[in-house]
Structures are given as C-alpha cells and as structure tokens.
C-alpha cells in the first residue's frame, strides 16, 4: 500500500482512472436529440424540445422541429441540453514536457549554463511559442475535460514566466491541427521563476517582464522609423520573443496574466497601470479584496476552479481527554479557517455581485473536483445562470468566438452536452457530449451507496483490486461475520504481513471498515466502503489526504 501511495504521488494528479467514454463512428452526420429540456443560454430554457445537428452545425431547435430522415435519434427525455462548456484558459491537450516532470522549480540547471544569463527557453521567455505542434487529441486531459461537458478551450503552452500564445481548440479531433480553431489570439504570462537561473525569484520575473516590455516598445519604434526611412539607420535586429510581444504592447492582443492570490492580483494590477497592456486577470482565487476596483476598471476576469479542500470530519477518539483551554483556542482557529474558507467559496458570487463578467479556468483544478467546486460556489451565492454564463457565454465573448459557440442557436457549432439532471444538481451525470458534430456517450456513474434493506453475506476470503491512477494494487481480505460482529484481516501485496481490520460495520449490503497500515514509520488508516452484491463487491477506499480510489473484488472462498 505504501508503494501504491508513493507511486500515486510520483505519478502526480494528471493521470486519471480509465474512462468509460466511447467515441461513436459517425455513420451519419445528422443527429436529433428529442424531447429534452434545452437550455439555449443562461436563463433561457425550452422544455420538451428537439435539437437537430447537421454536418457539425446546429440546424434547428424547438418544440415543433421534425426529425430529418436518416438522423441518429437520441431520445433525451428528461435530460438537459446545454451549450458545450469553454475553458477560458488551460493546458488541456498539451502534454507536459518531459523535463518538467518534477515541476519547474525543482528542475536542475543544466551544465554549462551561466545562471545570470541563461538561454531564453530555460529562463521561461518563450512568448513566440504556439501549441499547434504539441496538441494531442488523445491526451488524457482532453478526455477528462470532455466528459465534464467541456467542448472547447483556450489553451497555452506549458512553461514559466512567458510560456507562449493562446489558441482556441476543440476538445476533439483527428489530430492536433484538426482540433485547432484559431491561434495567436492572446499572450500568457505568470509569476513562475526559473530553476536556479535568472529569473529565480518573483522579483526577477517582474523585472524581466518590465525589461522585455520596454525593449519591445523600443523595437516597435525602431521598426516604424526604419520602415519610414531606412537611410543612414542601423537595420532593426530580429528577435522572435520581442516580436511575439509586440501585439500586446501595441494593444492589439490581450495579456492573460495568472494571478491566483491577492498579492499576485495587486502586483499584476500595478504592472498593468505602469505598462498599460490589455489585461485579462486570470486564475483568481482571492479577488474578493479587489472586486470593486476590478469592476471599476472593467478588467476581464477568469476565476480559478480550484477551491481549498474542505476539512475532513474529524472524529474525536474515544477516551481522549478534553482540554478546555485548548478547545477555546482550537475553536477560534477553526472559526477563522472556516471564515476564510467561505471567502474563497464566495469569491465568484462576490465578483458577480460587483457586476464583473468572468469565465472559469480549469488550469489548477483537479478535473474530478470541478463539478463539486461549481456546486460549492453556487451554494455560496453564485446563481446557476451566472455559473453557466461563466462556462459558456462569457468565455465565448472574451475569446471572440460568440458567433461560433457559447449558446445553442441555429447556425452555431454543434458543441453541446446532455446531462441526466440539471447540470449543477448533485449526482448529475453527463451522458452525451457533442463537439463539432462528433458524439461522445458516457455511462452514468456507479452507485456507491449500499441499500440498507438488502442483505449480504460477508464471510469468506475476498480478492480485491484498487484502481490508482496508472496502476492497480491487489490484495486479499478475510472476513468473518460472527452474528453481526464483523472481524477480519487485510493484506496487500505491498505489505509484509496481514493486519486486523477495525471498526467494521455492515449496514444492509454496505460494508465499511478501517484497515491500519504502516507507511514510512507512520500509522495510517485506509477507510473502505464496499457494496456487496452476491460474490462481488464494488466501492471506494480513502487513503487519508491522498484521495479516494475505486475498489473491486470477488469472493474466492470460505475463510479457513
């Protein structure tokens, strides 16, 4: 198990469990979704309606639309259809370069590099870079975002302070170029220092950005003067980085500046004030401090979909002495943390209340948490229409693609998602996603809750497998039900010996228990929740702060 967790940490969060997605071969390029509730745009809903997509474009929407002959008909009764979501900024579809496997800050400075004057690539100054040649339609992130209902994304290269330029891509395609809708529409920058070379600190990054910006201003002046009258003048030196920055300096291209924290935001606003670029304040997590200022300056904003993790339910261990003074202090600390948590969760609502239009970026968020994050923002005051606008119409407008996507309208691209309940409802499943007329179908998630009225026999020796991203881990469970008292042992191939399980409980056909394991000298408890059906079970295991993983198993025989 230790190996499992280490492996999980080493592999990182980008790998996700296998999906059930199935891309259907297009036998026909005409589809009709019938008798659905169609949300054509935030706040506009047509019930019992049909939508026809022909050759990748929306052909008709309405209650009196007839299904064309030869169309593949999807009976979407009781389902909800929305315009496909647009990720306002991410690296979706762009594989992370190998040399950044350990994260850019932990990388090593290559031999022979002068740390005070490193090559631009190492310094992170690559504003000329485009994603075109790196895009991969089968990149895991594409599939992960697609099954959440995302159909398009504004993507930028991986990198450091100036990773490159933004392109709009569709989250489906034969190859990279097939996904590409437009490129070079923006420049992306972030406070990301370089490993052991200049700029190695945030102050280095800010200085370097300012210098590049002013050098670009000089270059533009020189080029203009040279174009007017080159006689007697040195010819301008070509510099692809400065040339890539020139449209930003001229105000022809927006600068998407990553600014998650409140200090980042203030720093970016001051730089914008100094230099005057067209700013899109990107990835904000703590913008409630500056909502009024942003609203007044009319600065476009992209909200970060990553929220702080909610606290785990801390169970008081039995027999633990209560220390009153400690409890008072803990209470105060808990209140402050909770207050702060609410501020994070309310950020989107605060911005919306200030009249700020914003999109969402999934850049920092774990894809598995995105639906929950949206729900938390909605619980804290963001309206569902505002949330939907931030996923559709606002990013479409921000990126200049409102004519193509963002709403369900005749003539627009066939980008949509179908969910089996209103999208923001708990437990809602995305069942279909259509991108540019390509259909993707998904199964509903498995029920992980047991039935308290069912019965189950736990006795026996069970084999189990745990699905951890990128691998599976195996082991055995021996369980004995002694008239309701459940005991047993837990063994993993990564453990030296079996351990007794604790706190086992059977409720209907749902079995829960804790399995203590030793990891790096520390004891921790794996919490299993399994639903038993006959001789098989399915469920989850929570591995402390590392996450929750799927478990499957079957009965091999009776315990000795």
């Amino acid at each position: 198990m230790l190996f499992l967790v280490c492996a999980f940490l080493a592999i990182g969060l980008s790998l996700q469990a296998q999906s059930v997605e199935d891309a259907l071969k297009p036998v026909t390029r005409t589809y009709a979704l019938t008798n659905a509730t169609i949300v054509t745009q935030p706040g506009e809903m047509i019930e019992g309606s049909t939508i026809v997509i022909k050759n990748g474009l929306i052909d008709a929407i309405g209650t009196n639309v007839s299904v064309p002959a030869g169309a593949k008909v999807i009976a979407a009764d009781s389902m909800y259809v929305y315009a496909g979501f647009i990720d306002a900024l991410s690296n979706t579809g762009v594989p992370r370069p190998k040399n950044e496997d350990n994260g850019p800050r932990r990388g090593r400075r290559p031999d022979g590099v002068n740390p005070g004057d490193p090559p631009r690539e190492l310094a992170g100054v690559t504003p000329e870079k485009q994603v075109r040649n790196d895009l991969k339609p089968d990149e895991r992130s594409v599939e992960d975002m697609r099954k959440l209902g995302y159909t398009a994304a504004h993507v930028v290269p991986h990198g450091r302070m100036l990773p490159g330029q933004g392109s709009i891509i569709l989250l489906a395609g034969e190859d990279g170029e097939d996904m590409l809708l437009s490129e070079g529409l923006s420049l992306f920058t972030q406070f990301e220092a370089a490993p052991g070379v200049f700029p190695a600190t945030v102050i280095g990054v800010m200085s370097k950005f300012d210098e590049l910006y002013r050098q670009t201003e000089q270059m533009i002046m020189h080029m203009d003067a040279y174009a007017k009258n080159p006689k007697g003048m040195d010819r301008p030196e070509r510099d692809e980085a400065l040339e890539a920055m020139a449209p930003v300096v001229k105000g022809e291209k927006p600068l998407f500046f990553m600014a998650p924290g409140v200090k980042d935001i203030y720093r970016v606003l001051r730089m914008q004030d100094d230099l005057g670029f067209n700013l899109v304040l990107t990835g904000v997590k703590e913008a409630w401090h500056v909502a009024d200022q942003i609203a007044e300056a009319n600065i476009p904003v992209i909200v970060n979909l990553e929220l702080p993790d909610l606290p785990k339910d801390s169970k008081k261990k039995e027999g633990e002495e209560e220390d009153e003074a400690m409890d008072d202090e803990m209470k105060m600390l808990q209140e402050r943390a909770a207050e702060r948590m609410q501020a994070f969760e309310s950020q989107a609502a605060t911005l919306a209340d200030a009249g700020i239009q914003f999109g969402f970026t999934a850049m920092d968020a774990k894809t598995n948490d995105i639906h929950a994050s949206l729900r938390r923002m909605i619980e804290h005051g963001l309206s569902e229409d505002q949330a939907l606008a931030a996923l559709t119409t606002t990013p479409a407008a921000m990126l200049g693609v409102s004519d193509m996507m963002g709403t369900l309208e005749e003539g627009k691209m066939g980008n949509l998602l179908v969910s089996d309940a209103p999208y923001f409802a708990e437990g809602a499943n995305v069942r279909f996603v259509m991108i540019d007329g390509h259909l993707f179908e998904y199964e509903a998630k498995k029920a992980t809750k047991g039935n308290p009225d069912a019965t189950a026999n736990v006795n026996g020796e069970w084999s189990y497998t745990v699905e951890v991203p990128g691998q599976t881990s195996e082991g055995t469970l021996k369980l004995i039900d002694n008239s309701g008292e459940i005991s047993g042992t837990f063994y993993s191939t990564q453990m030296p010996s079996a351990e007794d399980i604790e706190n086992a409980r059977l409720n209907g056909n749902e079995l829960s228990f804790d399995a203590p394991v030793s990891m790096g000298g520390q004891r921790m408890s794996l919490q299993f929740t399994l639903v038993i059906t006959g001789d098989t079970f399915e469920g989850t295991v929570s591995v402390g702060e590392f996450g929750t993983f799927d478990v499957e198993g079957f009965r091999e025989g009776d315990p000795e």
């Binding site: 400075r109 052991g196 200049f198 003048m233 200090k263 993790d309």
Partner: protein, 456 residues
C-alpha cells in the same frame, strides 16, 4: 444565512481596511515627550491632525471629534525605524548573478507578513525592506511603513522615500559566485572589480543614451538608443545620485575600498550595513559622510565577523558618523529599544544619542529625516508610546501609531493577528527561525538557490 453574514463581514472589513491607509487625528495628552532632536518635554501634549504632528505643547485642546489619548505617566517617542530588515517581502535574494541591480524587492512586498505586527508591537513604525547580500550589487530595496491590516502591497510603501539599493562586500558574494561557480568575485579584490566594471559599463550606457537624446533634439532620427537595460538604468541612477547605496560590510579594508570606488565614480550617497569593523575607520566614514547601521552586540557568526566590539555604535557616534542600530531579524526588530540601550552600558551614550540610533539616524540614512525620526511639528505622526522609559529594561510598548492611526494597542491586542489564514490548515504552523543570531538573514533564500545552482 451564513453567507449573508459573511458578506456583511467582508463589506465591513473592506471599509475598515481601506480606511486604515488613511491618516488619523488624535491628541496625545500629558506624556513625557522624547522629541530626540529637541530634548525631552514633561507633561506635554502632541496634537496630530490628518496624520501629521500639528502641535507639541502644554494644555492643548482637541478639536471637535478628535480623540484624546491619555499618556499620563507614559513616554511618547518617535516611531522606531529599522534601517535593515527583510520582513514583509516575498523574495530576498535573486542570487543568480554578481550584479542584479535591476530587481527590486518593492515589487514583491508582503503586507500579510505577521512580522509587521510584531514589529509594531515593539514600537517600530517603518523599516528598510532589503534585498539580500548574495551579490556584490544586489537588488533595490524599499522603505516601508508598517500599515498592517491592508491586503494591498502598495499601501506599505513610504511614498516619496528615496530609492535605495543593496551592495555586499566580503564572504557572501565570494562564496555564492566565486566558490560556488568559479567566477568573479572569488576574492575581495574581485568584488571591487565587479563594482568598477559595472559602473564603467553604466557610464558607457549613460553616454549612449545622452548621444541619442542629443540627436533627437537635433531631429536626427538615425541615432538609436542603447537597448533598454534595467540593470544599466539602475546603475546610471546610482551615478546620478538618485539611489542611496546600502552596503553589507564587515571589514575595515573593504569599507575603505568602497568609499574609494564611490569617490572615483562621483557617488556620495552611501551607508554601510553591519559594518562591524566600522570603529577602525570611523574618522574616514565621517569625512566621506557615509552612514553606518550596526548591530548592538552581534558577531562571530562567520570568520570575517570576529573582530567586533559592543562599543562600535558609541565609537562611530563619537566620531561624528551618522549611526543607527538595526535588526536584520524578525525577532530582534521587536526590541530595538533594548538594542539602543546597550550603547549606554557600552559607551555611555546620552539618552538622546541612544534614541537617535533607532529614530532620526536611520531616517537620515534612508533619506526620510524630513518626514520621520523625531517628534517635530509638521512631521508624520509616526509615534510609539511606552510605559517606562524606552531605554529602560522595564520599558513596555503600549501604543504604536503610524500616520496618526493606532496600529498596535497593548490593551486591545487580539490573540490571532494573522491576515493570511489558510482555510485548509486550522492549526497554523509557527516556525521559529533557527537561523536568527547564528547567521545574518541577508543570505535568506540563497541556501535553496545555492543548492539548486551548485549541488543540484
């Protein structure tokens, strides 16, 4: 419902926070006023209007709506100024090059650093947030006022304070660049050459700019400016007297060396930091007009800092050197008044001389003595109120006031003063800085960089 309460709370905070950077008014009644520059006045009032000291005198009346603060039995002194600190910044050392004049710690101020509050609790109202000493020519520094409570980094800046820059002599730049990378400076001689080469290059840059400007004035568009270079721009500003050099130093020979380099390049705004061997070159420092910002009694944390004395500040003072005592530490900053008092045990400085070491003298070294550093009519109302004389071992800071607003009040001192609460971590981790007093904080951030650079 909880949400509505929260929003109300946020709005309330929003209002009170933005109000904090505004100036305040108050009448401090009946204290023992230690003006530092104009003697001590018993049973005296200080009237503060809109963040400025409006009047100092007896039996003053508070204008309508102005709050009175009873200072009977208390000592009222100018807010303490720390000429060397690294609190309230997110980056200390850009240790990648022997010369990094282009970087500026003022770009990365950290208003959420709880050290600011701790400094206020020691009567400190302003500090010099410095770049580290990894490089011969380090980054530019920022003079900040301790307006704790704001989330806006810009609110900390002491608007109008002159620009300053960190230089460093001796072992730190030699180790990082010479030993670490086998480049200049590997020796103290090399450090001098780094300075001379940098200033010479800056003179060429300056000349090229002047040539371009002259051509522009003659409508000659064929002459191009040198490519914009922040490092050179900064060095030119030093040559033109717009930036005060604050140089990390220990040994007398090197201190003397930098004065000669500055003389050769026509630079006269210079203050030495640490300057443990300053007592050996005190007359020379006085003649040059260079300041000295020292520790009271802190040394022997590396080879070049063994030859030291607790009489350093007194000897420098007696020789007419503008001398201050600094902290270079988030801990020591809380009791600079004790540090100043040590000069009365080691050197028998007068009360005013000792207090000057942490008030008007650091203000002079930072070029802000027209604004702060003493209690005088027209100056900023940056004030510390003590129970007991601040140079007494029994001194207790009671109230600390910046721009006429109370930022620390011992009678209203909440347990948790954090601004930056981690929503995921209920129990915050408190780190005691074990490097304090073993090694100067100037090298903060270089260990990681050092490892990344050379051991990686």
């Amino acid at each position: 419902m909880r949400y509505t309460i929260l929003i109300a709370l946020l709005l309330f905070f929003g209002v009170s926070l933005s109000a904090q950077s505004e100036a305040g008014s108050m009448l401090i009644k009946n204290g023992t006023v230690l003006t530092v520059t104009n003697g001590t006045m018993e049973n005296t009032d200080v009237l503060v209007i809109d963040g400025k000291i409006a009047e100092i005198g007896k039996n003053l009346r508070a204008p309508r709506g102005v709050e009175e603060v009873d200072a009977t039995g208390m000592h009222v002194m100018p807010g303490i100024i720390d000429c060397h600190s690294h609190i309230a910044i997110d980056a200390v050392n850009e240790a990648t090059n022997p010369v990094t004049a282009e970087v500026w710690v003022g770009d990365a101020l950290d208003p959420l650093d709880v050290s600011i509050y701790r400094a206020l609790a020691g009567g400190v109202t302003a500090s010099h947030a410095m770049h580290g000493s990894a490089n011969a020519i380090g980054g530019q520094c920022e003079t900040i006022k301790h307006r704790y409570g704001t989330y806006n980094p810009n609110d900390l800046r002491m608007e109008g304070a002159p620009r300053t820059i960190k230089f460093a002599l001796g072992e730190n730049p030699m180790r990082v660049h010479g030993e670490g990378r086998g480049i200049q400076p590997a020796t103290r001689m090399g450090i001098e050459q780094v300075f001379r080469a940098a200033f010479s290059e800056a003179q060429e840059y300056q000349a090229a700019k002047q040539k371009y400007e002259a051509a522009q004035a003659n409508d000659d568009n064929t002459v191009l400016p040198p490519q914009f270079d922040r490092r050179m721009e900064t060095l030119v500003d030093i040559l033109e007297g717009e930036i005060i050099i604050h140089c990390h130093s220990y040994r007398a020979d090197e201190i003397y060396m930098l004065m000669q380099v500055c003389e050769d390049f026509g630079i006269d705004r210079l203050c030495f930091q640490h300057v443990n061997e300053g007592f050996k070159v005190a007359p020379e420092l006085a003649e040059f007009g260079a300041g000295a910002s020292v520790f009271a009694d802190w040394w022997a944390y590396k080879f070049e800092v063994y030859y030291s004395t607790a009489y350093n500040a007194a000897i420098l003072t007696e020789n007419g050197v503008v001398t201050s005592i600094n902290s270079d530490s988030g801990e020591l900053i809380r009791h600079l008044y004790h540090e100043a008092a040590k000069t009365q045990r080691y050197g028998e400085l007068s009360n005013d001389e000792a207090l000057a070491l942490i008030t008007i003298n650091p203000a002079k070294q930072l070029g802000i003595d027209d604004r702060v550093g003493s209690l005088e009519e027209g100056k900023d109302a940056d004030i510390a109120i003590f129970k007991g004389h601040p140079l007494s071992i029994y001194a207790v800071p009671m109230k600390t006031i910046v721009d006429g607003k109370v930022y620390f009040d011992r009678n209203n001192d909440a347990d948790d003063q954090r601004l930056d609460v981690d929503p995921e971590e209920v129990m915050p981790a408190f780190f005691l800085d074990v490097q304090d007093h073993n090694y100067e904080n100037c090298m903060q951030g270089t260990y990681q960089t050092f490892n990344a650079l050379f051991r990686g």
